[in-house]
């Protein structure tokens, strides 16, 4: 009883696969659709979450933020902190840190002659702010601030609408100084910006840091330092350096702790992608097992004959497993190719502005960019191959353990 060479087993499996080409083709179609759906849907979900995180991190102060220890509980002007000291400045020079900026951030009321709104007033340093979070392309009218002592103010287009005001007009901004006296100041609107998320347009107004510090009688104190690296997924590598350098008087936080909604979003999505892939696989697996059971069933006599001629049970087991493997591989190949082919034309984004306000509740903008991740593709393919082979073991094993005499006598 000799072992059949692998080549012969593959050949047998391949030919067996095409003996009933209709069944094989239907199964292939099912695997292809399943794999396509896994990858396509995953890419859409990833795209959505990426967009959500990028928007979120941009509107948060950066990937890592430093605040006074009490600021998170009570984001008021009283919990400000001094500008970064030497140790921190040193740490901020590490190559992983792409840019950083410091801000004054306080709740405020902005009033035009027509109306008033509650907003968040940011006192920023224009040069570093544009590197960390503000995109100069977003300026629709006028200009962004020119220096930390710029006396103008930049507001969102939607807020300007609400206040019935426009570029060049004056507005009054009121907030509270550290002694809880009302601090107010008139500003000329020097720029109007547009944001991806309309709610941000209504929320943030930008003034020069020094001007705002003066208005609020803050001296040189600031509310926060925002730091950005190259990649929000890899914040952990450099976060601890910053944390140590920042010292105990202040608190450094990575984005996923600063906004637990965003942080958990990433984890929930990872879980959801896995659940989705497995559910699709399970739906497929019934068909796969069925196909193999049928393939074995109609060849019972043949298998009996092979055994009678001296083929080892293990060879029969391998032969059926290889048949299943070939089926899975072709299905995977087609599924992957079709997934990539259908995602490429969508690269420039899918316009989902019909449900823009709904998406905004989730924190995503009205264009959905599918994000095809190599890791997700590998995961989907691995799951299908590994679980697919596992589910094929049972029918193959049954085929391998037929009694040759009984099998031969089967009609």
């Amino acid at each position: 009883m000799s072992r059949l060479p692998l080549r012969a087993l593959f050949m047998l499996a391949w030919r067996n696969l095409w003996r009933n080409h209709r069944r094989t083709l239907i199964m292939l179609a099912a695997i292809t659709v399943g794999v396509w759906a896994m990858i396509f849907m995953t890419a859409l979900m990833r795209g959505m979450v990426d967009d959500m995180l990028l928007n979120g991190i941009r509107s948060l102060p950066g990937e890592v933020q430093i605040h006074d220890v009490f600021y998170r509980d009570d984001p008021s002007i009283n919990n400000s902190m001094p500008p970064p000291g030497d140790a921190l400045l040193q740490a901020l020079r590490i190559p992983e840190v792409k840019a950083w900026t410091s801000r004054v951030r306080v709740p405020a009321v902005i009033s035009s002659e027509r109306d008033s709104r509650g907003v968040i007033l940011l006192g920023v340093e224009p040069e570093s702010e544009t590197q960390v979070s503000f995109d100069l392309d977003n300026i629709r009218e006028g200009r962004f601030l020119e220096s930390a002592s710029d006396r103008g103010i930049v507001i969102g287009a939607k807020l300007a609408d609400r206040l019935e005001t426009e570029l060049g007009k004056r507005v009054v901004v009121m907030s509270q100084d550290p002694d809880n006296d009302i601090a107010d100041r008139g500003f000329r609107i020097v720029g109007i910006y547009k944001a991806k998320l309309a709610s941000l347009e209504e929320m943030y107004i930008y003034g020069g840091r020094e001007t705002i510090q003066q208005m609020l009688k803050l001296g040189d104190r600031i509310s926060e330092i925002a730091i950005t690296g190259d990649d929000y997924r890899n914040v952990d590598r450099w976060y601890s350096t910053i944390e140590q350098a920042a010292g105990d008087a202040v608190k450094a936080l990575p984005w996923y702790e600063a906004d637990t909604y965003l942080g958990s979003m990433l984890a929930v999505m990872d879980g959801f992608v896995l659940v989705w892939i497995i559910v699709v696989f399970l739906a497929l697996s019934f068909g796969l097992v069925n196909t193999l059971v049928m393939a074995v069933f109609e060849r019972v006599r043949e298998i009996g004959l092979m055994q009678a001629l001296g083929m080892r049970p293990s060879s029969i087991l391998y032969q059926i497993l290889i048949e299943s493997l070939l089926l899975l591989l072709i299905g995977l190949l087609l599924g992957n190719v079709i997934a990539v082919v259908t995602i490429i034309p969508l690269r420039d984004g899918i316009d989902i502005s019909v449900v823009a306000e709904g998406m905004e509740m989730m924190g995503t903008s009205s264009m959905l960019y599918p994000a095809l991740k190599v890791n997700d593709m590998i995961m989907a393919n691995l799951i299908v191959i590994v679980l697919g082979l596992l589910t094929s073991i049972l029918p193959s094993w049954r085929a391998a353990t037929y009694d040759p005499i009984e099998a031969l006598n089967k009609t």
């Binding site: 009933n20 209709r22 069944r23 239907i26 199964m27 099912a30 659709v33 399943g34 849907m41 859409l44 009570d74 008021s76 009283n78 709740p107 405020a108 009321v109 009033s111 027509r114 109306d115 008033s116 709104r117 509650g118 907003v119 609408d161 609400r162 019935e164 009121m174 907030s175 509270q176 809880n180 009302i182 909604y261 942080g263 958990s264 979003m265 984890a267 929930v268 879980g271 989705w276 559910v279 699709v280 399970l282 739906a283 497929l284 019934f286 068909g287 069925n290 059971v293 049928m294 109609e298 989902i352 019909v354 449900v355 306000e357 709904g358 998406m359 905004e360 509740m361 989730m362 924190g363």
Partner: protein
């Protein structure tokens, strides 16, 4: 017909394993569909309920354009008499007038810019749950009292408690400064972060005085007794408004388009996933039925030679599928109901979901809501697609030549 059914039943059990595998695929998808659709319905209903009942209400009367541009000046004149009229005309208590303004709110230690809502003390509790959620102090009883009720988070941020005073500073109806001092009489906890952090309410009488509104307000909230009666109530409100120029009644879908769209977006992506599951089941059925037809070629040949019409053979194949699908539907539905019913009592949570849930005004535990619709939609579509999948194998029979078929191996 009974013979066909009988034959179909027996044919199915000629290949027990194959039949069960196909039925298994149906059961699996039906289970998943029932569970997810119930979960969807459950969470949508909660999202809608929770988002509307705490503040927005089922519908609002506003000046046309106010919803798009909520400005102080697009107000409703003589709002309280109008609310009274609507109340009597509809015979409904759940109608309340409101005013909306922004003001800088300062305690001794802190200041925040806030949206302040002027409410009718007698009727506000009938349209929203907030008055009932006052955990410390009380709600209003006098429409002209210089009082305010604020959210718990706001109270903490402002460092105030019941009995403390707040200074309000804002702009009034004519653009002039509006300033006043009010006493905190109550603090509510809704559990919705946004509301607890940003909401402050005042009695509408004093509110109108403070912001120089005269007899004006900004919207009248109307709750229908039941979500199903939204349309008729809205219609009657429209009739009442016929004599008032420039006033419109908007339902929640217009007031909170985000809510509806979030549901739509979720709905679309969910149906994409369901579609994939259903198509995979259909493939499974197609495969099984095609195989079972092919392997019976000889048998069918003999039957045709004996005078059985192809129509009847096709009918047999379709009946087999129908019986199989009915099995899948029944077992899937029963298991689905049991599982979902258990979870709709016990609820379940998903690690990391709390933050997402909060964003959509959902509780931390999810409770699927079981209804005839949520049970039947998924399985019926699976049933339908299974039948569709068996058309091709059935149609093949028409092209069967009895002689050739009988010779087939």
């Amino acid at each position: 017909m009974t013979i066909t059914l009988h034959m179909a039943w027996r044919n199915l059990w000629r290949h027990k394993r194959r039949t069960w595998l196909t039925v298994g695929a149906m059961i699996f998808s039906n289970l998943i569909l029932i569970f997810s659709i119930s979960l969807q319905f459950g969470s949508y209903r909660m999202m809608i309920d929770n988002s509307l009942k705490s503040y927005t209400g089922h519908m609002q009367i506003q000046r046309a354009g106010y919803n798009e541009e909520p400005k102080m000046r697009s107000s409703i004149e003589a709002i309280i008499p109008l609310a009274d009229t609507v109340r009597t005309q509809l015979g409904l208590d759940s109608v309340a007038a409101r005013g909306v303004a922004f003001a800088m709110t300062s305690s001794e230690q802190r200041s925040y810019g806030l949206q302040i809502i002027g409410v009718e003390p007698d009727f506000e509790p009938k349209v929203s749950t907030l008055p009932g959620l006052v955990t410390r102090g009380r709600y209003f009883d006098d429409s002209d009292a210089e009082e305010i009720v604020i959210g718990a988070v706001l109270a903490r941020n402002l460092r105030v408690d019941v009995g403390d005073e707040l200074t309000l500073l804002g702009s009034g109806y004519d653009g002039s400064f509006a300033a006043g001092i009010v006493r905190v009489v109550g603090i509510f906890e809704s559990g919705i972060a946004d509301i607890d952090r940003n909401m402050a309410q005042m009695p509408i009488g004093y509110f109108q005085t403070l912001f120089g509104l005269g007899d004006r307000g900004h919207n009248i909230v109307i709750n229908a007794p039941d979500v199903l009666q939204l349309a008729p109530v809205q219609q009657s409100v429209r009739e009442v408004l016929r004599g008032y120029d420039g006033l419109v009644v908007l339902d929640w879908e217009q007031l909170q388009p985000g809510l509806k769209q979030a549901i739509q977006a979720d709905f679309t992506s969910a149906w994409f996933m369901y579609g994939v599951l259903i198509i995979l089941v259909a493939f499974s059925v197609l495969n099984t039925q095609l195989m079972s037809v092919l392997e019976r070629t000889r048998e069918f040949g003999v039957m045709m030679a004996l005078g059985v019409k192809p129509t009847r053979l096709g009918g047999l194949v379709i009946t087999e599928t129908a019986v199989m699908s009915a099995l899948g539907l029944t077992i899937g539905a029963v298991l689905g109901i049991v599982m979902t019913a258990y979870l709709s009592q016990a609820g379940f949570s998903y690690p990391g979901m709390e933050d997402m849930a909060e964003r959509f005004n959902l509780p931390e535990r999810m409770y699927p809501s079981l209804s005839i619709a949520s049970i039947m939609i998924g399985p019926s579509v699976v049933f339908l697609f299974s039948l569709l999948a068996s058309i091709y194998p059935a149609v093949r029979l028409y092209f069967l030549q009895p002689i050739a078929a009988m010779r087939a191996v």
